[in-house]
């Protein structure tokens, strides 16, 4: 690990001030320290935000506000989250391990970096790690890589599970800017596509601090998180789907679907939700939804299998969400 200056923030103003001066926030540390040990990240200053009053899961109007520092374990086990937003509990529980989730935080989880093998290997070119050096995954081994929204510069995926559920639930990220202003960004717009600047994972500006994630009022319906991975436990998603589907009289009244493992961000295509709303569930309908999802899909060799896999997973999730079996 490269040397760094460590400070502990004793209030949000203090943390924002340090971040403005270039300090990198550290929360659970489970992603940042991993990357610092490998010298993929080498911040000169760290600001430890763990003592800030950003814990707690509070009612927020009809919805719920989850503090940036709430641990993934506490969030998944929270009674309201389990009852009113089960897809979020399920998605969190599908990721990592109890040990890691006890440390991992809401904000840190959102900001976790890609698991692209070349990003992790400092001896290989990678535009995300070293802009302009090239992408080793294009033309290399790319089993875990993206099939949607890629660019010639980067085909990495956002690897997280929690954010996929937050995208399906249409949650908002609450941010305090370097100037001390508050702004809200929908989770659906928080992560970005790689384009020409894959070094930027999300829309945070230097000095921005995430303070909370706000969930809208409970959507009800059937909520499913399906994660397809190499092993049945403790591995990142090849494809994942978060689905919130409400049925009424045999028809789909409302649906909201988000996809993990396919792109540089949790993938949400509003056309799919629109197609499903008001429709009678059927195999043909599920195929149409998959057509929309995969319209622009492109495989890079080793990850070609994700295209049929995403279709199968989507059809299975829709069957489960709309079927009679509870």
């Amino acid at each position: 690990m490269r040397p760094f200056l460590y400070s502990r923030a004793d209030g949000l103003d203090h943390a924002v001030q340090l971040a403005r001066e270039g300090a990198r926030p550290i929360a659970g540390g489970t992603n940042l320290l991993d990357l610092m040990k490998l010298q993929i990240e080498a911040p000169e200053r760290l600001v430890d935000i763990n003592r800030l009053p950003l814990g707690g899961i509070e009612p927020d109007g009809e919805g719920v506000r989850i503090g940036a520092l709430v641990s993934n374990s506490a969030c998944a086990a929270d009674e309201r989250i389990r009852r009113d937003y089960p897809v979020l509990s399920r998605a969190i529980l599908a990721g990592a391990t109890f040990q890691l989730r006890n440390k991992a935080t809401t904000a840190g989880n959102l900001c976790q970096r890609t698991r692209c093998y070349y990003f992790y290997n400092i001896d290989t070119p990678c535009n995300k790690r070293r802009p302009g050096s090239g992408c080793s995954a294009i033309g290399g081994f790319n089993r875990i890589h993206a099939i949607l929204g890629t660019s010639d510069a980067c085909i990495a995926t956002y690897p997280g599970d929690m954010a996929v559920a937050l995208a399906a639930l249409n949650a908002q990220v609450e941010i305090t800017t370097a100037q001390g202003r508050k702004r809200h960004v929908p989770v659906r717009g928080f992560h970005r596509l790689p384009g020409d600047t894959p070094e930027k994972d999300n829309v945070l500006e230097p000095g921005d601090m995430i303070t909370a994630v706000a969930l809208p009022p409970p959507a009800g319906g059937r909520q499913i998180y399906r994660k397809v991975r190499e092993r049945s436990s403790y591995a990142f998603a090849l494809v994942s789907i978060a689905a919130v589907v409400r049925m009424e009289g045999g028809k789909i009244a409302a649906a909201s679907l988000a996809f993990g493992g396919l792109a540089h961000k949790p993938w949400h295509d509003p056309r799919i939700d629109e197609l499903l709303a008001g429709a009678m569930p059927s195999d043909a309908l599920a195929d149409k939804a998959a057509d929309l999802l995969l319209e622009g899909a492109q495989g890079y060799g080793d990850n070609d299998f994700k295209i049929p896999l995403a279709r199968r997973a989507l059809k299975a999730v829709l069957r489960e969400a709309t079927g009679d079996a509870a």
């Binding site: 040397p3 760094f4 374990s73 009852r83 529980l93 040990q99």
Partner: protein, 166 residues
């Protein structure tokens, strides 16, 4: 900076780069906690912080001002074993023993989490009661790898203690 390790007050004033794992092993001479992967993947370094299990390789000592840390040495010693330690011995819950301190710390916290009603990925109804089936135990212990493959005896040891606690 003060912290408590196995009930003893200590002061950390080392390089901020020191992980909690290295601090325990190197500076506190508590070598029960093991270093496997050093990247959060194997669980050999599992310790309890304020009762919760974490990977000590992925946290900095300097971040634990005022925290109470329990390592395997704090759970029990050969003369006075923790029930889980004794059960691991009875059930042959290890072969080389490298993963064992992490397994036992993890199992201790796992039983506490289940008692609080925390669900896992395999819990059928996450709003219902938690029943620690073998599948549940395996999923909840999935952060502790055992290269010797002693998994089934590990689960046996945990089941015995779980039933004794009821």
């Amino acid at each position: 900076m003060p912290l408590t390790i196995n009930g003893t007050e200590r002061t950390f004033d080392g390089d901020p780069r020191t992980t909690l794992l290295d601090y325990l092993r190197r500076d506190c001479n508590l070598t029960g906690t093991k270093k496997g992967c050093d990247h959060g993947q194997c669980g050999a370094c599992t310790v309890l912080i304020n009762g919760q299990r974490i990977n000590s390789c992925l946290t900095l000592a300097v971040m634990h001002d005022g925290d109470a840390i329990t390592t395997i040495e704090g759970l029990g010693d050969p003369q006075n074993m923790h029930p889980l330690q004794a059960a691991f011995v009875r059930h042959d819950g290890y072969q080389c023993g490298y993963c064992t301190p992490g397994q036992i710390c993890s199992a201790k916290a796992m039983l506490d989490e289940a008692a609080l009603g925390w669900p896992s990925f395999v819990t059928p109804d996450i709003t219902g009661e938690v029943r620690l089936t073998r599948d549940e135990i395996a999923e909840r212990m999935s952060g502790n790898l055992c290269r010797c493959g002693a998994y089934s005896n590990i689960v046996d040891a945990i089941v015995e203690i779980m039933e004794a606690q009821r």
